[in-house]
Symmetry: C2
DNA sequence: AGCAAAATTTGAATCGATCCAACGAAAATG
DNA sequence: CATTTTCGTTGGATCGATTCAAATTTTGCT
């Protein structure tokens, strides 16, 4: 391992090769950053010195301080890092964010952490020009941390009503209404709701009080949209089971066990995410319940997987690609203003919904 | 927009609040990095000043230079950034990389670029402690750039035989043999190979010369493995069509059109990636050709999607999770040594392979 | 050769923090 | 009361580069 040219471990600095080549560090710097302004003979000499000493090029750490811009945007979530690659919604969103970044040459830093303490540190020390915050669980804390950095940032799919944070989201109430309306129009009257979390670390049937004190406004809004439509057609919404899941397979299955243990199980299920809906599809199929004949389901999100399930899922599609693009734009062209954008959603009717039996 | 406290745009620095609070910058720094060593009264005063001046906490750009470590690893590819979220293989690999990073608290920076020039710049200026390089197309150039940074780096699934670069890969020859052996054991004798790229930007039937001069050793090795086994059972391998694809739907379909236009189409297809194999499954199904009765297929990679296709895909599974873990470990615990690890693969028999008709 | 203009090179200042040796003050000890 | 400890604070040095005004060398022209 011992190199012949360098005695110790200390990495080679620009100043070292400047000295070796007998030029000032200013010139040495120019050789790398604006080679055209230095005389060829000198340029070659410096490059040769760099080569000989094993110099890896100007260290971006040094450059960064002077330049000020990192040229990367941070994408933050309170979930584990693998969320970005595992979750279908996140994946589509990230794909569109990364396309927008590619187009402008910006890089992406993934910021996340298992525990809260680490998260704070990670956000505080992330080398980025701005943050896009995925507001899932722990969203409010995340938003607060990001805001403390005083960098441009935008919350995606925001669960906070705080008008002071920039956010890009969809009209949850309208979307949920649309989903419910689709099912009531088909004639359904017995419903169950598979909800996203209302608050952290809890699952199970939720009471109206719990809904009222929900941490996550997005979840509450979707529920509001659902129930609004259901009561419009005369359904007693206090009788509609609302089961809070953690947006994962385990809690969704637990929810389904409970819901289908009832004497009069629902003929229609409103799922607040496609992920929940897809797990439900699987569970029902294992139970030999036919979708859409025995049970209809409408999801929420519009992830690609929803189009390829068996049967294909009726869902409320968010303009995910558009949201990603807008988020990147908001960071890169940040003018210090906070703006909140509410995008429209779209009902996509596929084969998971049909009129109820009989 | 105009703030009452700050006249101009210039961001607040630690030195500013130190002055405002009437302490030295050293003390001000301590308030944030080691608050326990500064007297409470002073600490509060400094914090108050920070709050009042809208200070966002110590700028990591400054800290970084002193600290030296970024605490993030870069993952680089020559594909567009969205590759990380779109490609099934990359996704699984990234999920395992991110789990390993999470465990150690390291962040992830995604490095990539549309064009070659930008790529060089992005790699040179990436703020990372090391690189994991995805060697797909343009792998060798990428490896060279990464190596120039003189940072720890490891190539994944390396397509280079250069013993001087650290790499983690699988035994391509053995894996390919395994795939071919499975099909010959079932009795197949008419084969076609759907290959990954041998060189950049080319698709189509390949000649033996083109194989010999392949840029990508990984592709060549897989082919070697296939043909080795085929000739073992007496097949004239010069007659086996080898079609080079770009590992995408378009070129794969073009390949299939060509291959199935032959008088005696193959009864078995060896696909060098699950992605290719899955596209093939779709194409065959659209052509009303039954898998595995009309045609058998064996993929390569072992992505999750392969287990859920119709029919489920027989494939050669790489230990993707293990590879990701090892790669992260190699970066974080880099000792300057270059090591090359060849991991074993495993044949997973599912429903896409069966004995040929008749 | 003589002089102005153009091309290069220099070296100090800067980016925003952290670290640490040295110092002063207050508290503890003999 | 003198002396040691302990505690908190200070300010200079440092991390590794870029930038720019000023100094210097070259080149161009007569």
């Amino acid at each position: 391992m011992a190199s012949l040219t360098a005695g110790n471990r200390r990495p080679v600095r620009l100043a070292d090769i400047a000295k070796a080549a007998g030029v000032s560090h200013g010139t040495a710097s120019n050789v790398f950053s604006r080679p055209e302004i230095v005389r060829e003979e000198v340029r070659e000499r410096v490059k040769a010195a760099a080569e000989a000493m094993g110099y890896g090029g100007p260290d971006p750490k040094g450059r960064l301080l002077r330049a000020g811009k990192v040229n990367a945007i941070g994408v933050a979530t309170a979930e584990p890092l693998s969320y970005f690659f595992d979750d279908p919604f996140a994946r589509v969103m990230m794909a569109s964010i990364s396309q927008a970044c590619d187009a402008t040459g910006a890089g992406i830093s993934l910021v996340s952490a298992a525990n809260n303490e680490q998260l704070a540190w990670n956000i505080q020390s992330a080398l980025v020009d701005g943050f896009i915050v995925f507001c899932i669980e722990g969203g409010s804390r995340l938003v607060e941390l990001a805001r403390e950095r005083k960098l441009p940032f935008v919350a995606l799919d925001l669960d906070s009503e705080d008008g002071a944070v920039a956010a890009i989201g969809v009209d949850n109430i309208a979307g949920a209404s649309l989903a419910a309306r689709h099912l009531t129009d088909l004639g359904h009257r017995r419903f169950a709701v598979l909800a996203l979390p209302f608050a952290d670390g809890r699952t199970g049937l939720v009471s109206p009080e719990q809904v009222r004190s929900a941490t996550y406004a997005g979840t509450r809004d979707r529920l509001t949209g659902y129930l609004q439509e259901l009561s419009r057609v005369g359904i007693d919404t206090s009788k509609v089971p609302v089961y809070e899941t953690a947006n994962d397979a385990a809690s969704t299955k637990a929810a389904l066990e409970t819901i289908f243990a009832a004497k009069e199980p629902p003929t229609a299920i409103l799922a607040m995410s496609d992920k929940i809906a897809l797990v439900t599809l699987e569970w029902l199929s294992a139970r030999k319940l036919n979708v859409p004949n025995d049970v209809s389901i409408v999801g929420f999100d519009g992830v690609p997987e929803a189009a390829m399930s068996e049967p294909p899922l009726t869902t409320i599609a968010q303009p995910i690609a558009e949201m990603g693009r807008l988020a990147v734009k908001a960071i890169l062209e940040s003018d210090g203003k906070v703006s909140r954008q509410l995008l429209p959603v779209e009902l996509i009717v596929r084969a998971s919904s049909a009129p109820p039996r009989g």
